[in-house]
């Protein structure tokens, strides 16, 4: 039972984080609206609605990343349960029933996590409105709303998303043959690079359309700032194409990074381990790519915007200072909002590594029997995590700089002509520091678990 809890801990954490994020945003739009102008709420809900719409974008991003993490987690859990699933199939359970049961676990864990997240968000809102006015954060003497029916909808959406993600992630259950229960081989069947032609074709179509629109946007930008809308749609299409085609796009990126880690057998094995399940590695890194791309994009776009408009305000220092401050605040808010999705993605990556080690116990035992020291096994796991983090951060940074530059260029190309992207180095440093911390944290638990495997495990029959 404790094993089951450990398996599902990530699903609970992810749905709790998603709900916490969504509900907090929804509740605080209410609080903010009241704080700014109480009459506004009564007059018309427009201000509130616009705020909610903006929040919605970030909530959807967080939900999307969360769903990828959950689906990935379930796929990994299933891979570890193949034999017991095969055994149940052997004694007569239908594949669909098995899959529904696994997805049911997702529903239950999603519900548990969402309720936790909801309670936390309510507590946060309650304490903010209770002590906020006293500290001068919020105007005093106003009736702040502590509940919003929309928050309940968010909770239901998170639970439903988790359920769907669990269903998608348990796809493999349907193809487990009862005969797998009898085999002595406990080794995971190498992923015969599942052919998802339809998905690949769609992602290519999206990429091509997106790239064409971006090119068009850049051309139009010479004449009109409305090019931004063309480029925006192009960015949306091409990035969706990349995320959709993660199983095609990420493995080469991971291999490229892996090539930098040749030499010691620990590094060679780490690269090989990542390349072994390209789909799994792709799914567990794409979340982080999304987060880093969005953060970098906002920062680069705003920084480029600042650099490009600076010439306009060169004669007016006070206007320049005001612009600077506005942009800094905007960057901070966007980074914070998108950063939350990056944290969810990070949780997913830690989990993938962790479960990967659990499922490779026997292989680790073999390595120890052949003469790997505990330190070498630890180094192998840490190299794996470092490679995944570097690949995700590097790719995300490149994409982010590109999209950010396209955005700024499309908006201001008519005024300033073509200019190189301005990269906010402080942010890049922040992302790198985050990456190093993530690589260390992500590998700590799996590495500890891996070191504990004894060489005798290799000889165990089961």
């Amino acid at each position: 039972m404790s094993g089951a809890i450990r398996e599902h801990a990530v699903t609970v954490i992810v749905s709790a984080l998603s709900t916490l994020f969504a509900v907090t945003l929804i509740l605080f739009t209410g609080v903010m609206t009241v704080a700014i102008d109480p009459e506004l709420v009564e007059e018309s809900g427009t201000f509130r609605l616009v705020l909610l719409m903006v929040c919605c974008i970030f909530i959807v991003i967080a939900l999307y990343v969360g769903a990828i993490v959950t689906a990935n987690t379930f796929a990994t859990i299933i891979a570890g349960r193949l034999r017991s699933i095969a055994l149940l199939r052997l004694i007569g359970a239908t594949a669909n029933r098995m899959r529904a049961r696994v997805a049911g676990e997702g529903l239950l864990m999603g519900l548990l996590g969402s309720v936790i997240g909801f309670v936390l968000a309510e507590l946060l809102c309650f304490s903010a409105t209770a002590i906020g006015p006293a500290l001068g954060w919020l105007p005093t003497g106003r009736a702040y709303p502590l509940f919003d029916p929309v928050a309940l909808i968010a909770l239901v959406v998170v639970v439903f998303t988790t359920w769907c993600a669990a269903w998608v992630g348990s796809r493999r259950v349907a193809s487990v043959s009862p005969i797998e229960a009898t085999g002595a081989a406990v080794e995971l069947t190498p992923n015969a690079a599942m052919r998802r032609t339809g998905r690949t074709v769609w992602s290519i179509i999206l990429l091509v359309i997106g790239a064409a629109l971006i090119a068009l946007g850049l051309i139009v930008s010479v004449f009109s700032p409305f090019a931004l809308f063309v480029s925006f749609v192009g960015g949306l299409f091409s990035f969706t194409g990349i995320v959709f085609g993660a199983h095609v796009v990420m493995p080469p990126v991971l291999r490229l990074v892996g090539r930098g880690f040749r030499g010691a057998p620990t590094a060679t094995l780490a690269s090989a381990n990542i390349a072994r399940f390209p789909e799994r590695s792709a799914r567990s890194t794409i979340g982080l790519v999304i987060g880093v791309t969005l953060i970098t994009m906002f920062a680069v776009a705003l920084e480029s915007y600042r650099a490009m408009t600076l010439s306009y305000f060169a004669f007016d220092p006070s206007a320049e200072a005001a612009l600077d401050q506005t942009l800094a605040v905007t960057t901070a808010i966007f980074t914070g909002l998108v950063g939350f999705s990056a944290i969810i993605a990070a949780v997913g990556m830690i989990n993938t590594l962790s479960l990967g080690v659990l499922q490779r116990t026997r292989e680790l035992g073999l390595l120890r029997a052949l003469g790997f020291t505990g330190a070498q096994v630890r180094r192998m796991v840490m190299t794996e995590s470092a490679q995944m983090v570097i690949a995700a951060l590097g790719f995300g940074l490149i994409l982010g700089v590109f999209y950010g530059w396209v955005a700024a260029q499309s908006l201001l190309g008519a005024q300033v002509g073509f200019a190189a992207p301005s990269v906010p180095w402080l942010l890049v440093c922040g992302v790198v520091v985050f990456g190093v911390a993530l690589a260390l944290v992500a590998s700590a638990t799996p590495a500890r678990r891996a070191v504990r495997v004894t060489p005798l495990t290799a000889l165990a029959v089961d």
């Binding site: 002595a184 010691a264 000889l459």
Partner: protein, 260 residues
């Protein structure tokens, strides 16, 4: 490595490659203490093919694990090629396993992510530097002799069970270890492939004097050995020379009856 005067001399004089003295292994706490090995003193001769036989739970696997440095004894001492290994720490035992001991398991012998050549070179690369020219030649000749030449770039799962076992044997032989420990090496193979594998082990002993200890419960497998040790209830109950499968089966049956 620690050495012990008289036992070391004994080991050298009698050309023992592996040696135990008063070896015992217990599991569990006082009340439910289970004795897996009970005061075993035995030496495995250099250049010999020794089979260790016994019914399930007789302690034959535990004996092998301890002699191979995979498990630590509760009492008694263990030597490998003149060096005492009982009392060595994990790091020292790990280094020992790299070059001085070869392993062939029943299944799951190969690292799934490495190709065949990568698996063969792994024990050398673990020390930080790959095989030298002479060692590379040795790997080449083993690959040739075992008919693996066109398999070097394949992954283990692309090979049949018998081929995988041949790779495992090649890997074990490549480092010229003091001794190879084989744990039911034919257990997962059909009988024809199993005979081939046993033939390979036999010829390694005959042609290059490789010492091999094999744990098995298969009388046919044991009939390839120069010496057969029978274990029951953690004790050695018989120590014989070469036997034919029928004799071995009969001895095993008598042991089972004795235990019942």
């Amino acid at each position: 490595m620690r050495s012990f005067g008289s036992m070391e001399n004994f080991a050298q004089h009698t050309q023992m490659v592996a040696l135990t003295q008063g070896l015992s292994r217990y599991y569990g706490a006082d009340a439910q203490r289970v004795t897996a090995l009970d005061d075993i003193s035995i030496g495995l001769r250099s250049g010999q093919f020794t089979a260790i036989m016994g019914p399930s739970g007789s302690g034959k696997s535990t004996l092998m694990h301890i002699m191979a440095g995979l498990e630590t004894p509760s009492a008694g001492r263990v030597w490998l090629g003149g060096d005492e290994i009982s009392g060595l720490g994990d790091a020292a035992l790990t280094k020992l396993r790299r070059r001085r001991i070869g392993f062939v398991f029943q299944a799951f012998n190969l690292v799934p992510t490495l190709d065949i050549l990568g698996n063969l070179r792994l024990p050398f690369e673990l020390g930080g530097h790959g095989p030298n020219a002479e060692e590379r030649r040795r790997i080449d000749s083993l690959v040739h002799a075992l008919g693996l030449t066109d398999r070097l770039k394949h992954r283990p799962h692309e090979l049949s069970g018998g081929q995988q076992q041949r790779v495992a044997i090649a890997r074990a032989l490549a480092t010229k270890p003091d001794i190879i420990f084989a744990d039911e090496p034919t257990g997962a193979l059909d009988s024809r492939t199993g005979r081939e594998v046993l033939g390979l082990l036999r010829s390694a002993v005959d042609t290059s004097g490789q010492s091999i200890a094999m744990v098995t419960h298969d009388p046919v497998a044991a009939s390839h050995a120069d010496r057969i040790l029978f274990l029951n209830d953690g004790r050695i109950v018989a120590d014989r020379g070469p036997m034919v499968p029928a004799q071995i089966a009969e001895t095993m049956l008598r042991l089972e009856e004795l235990a019942a």
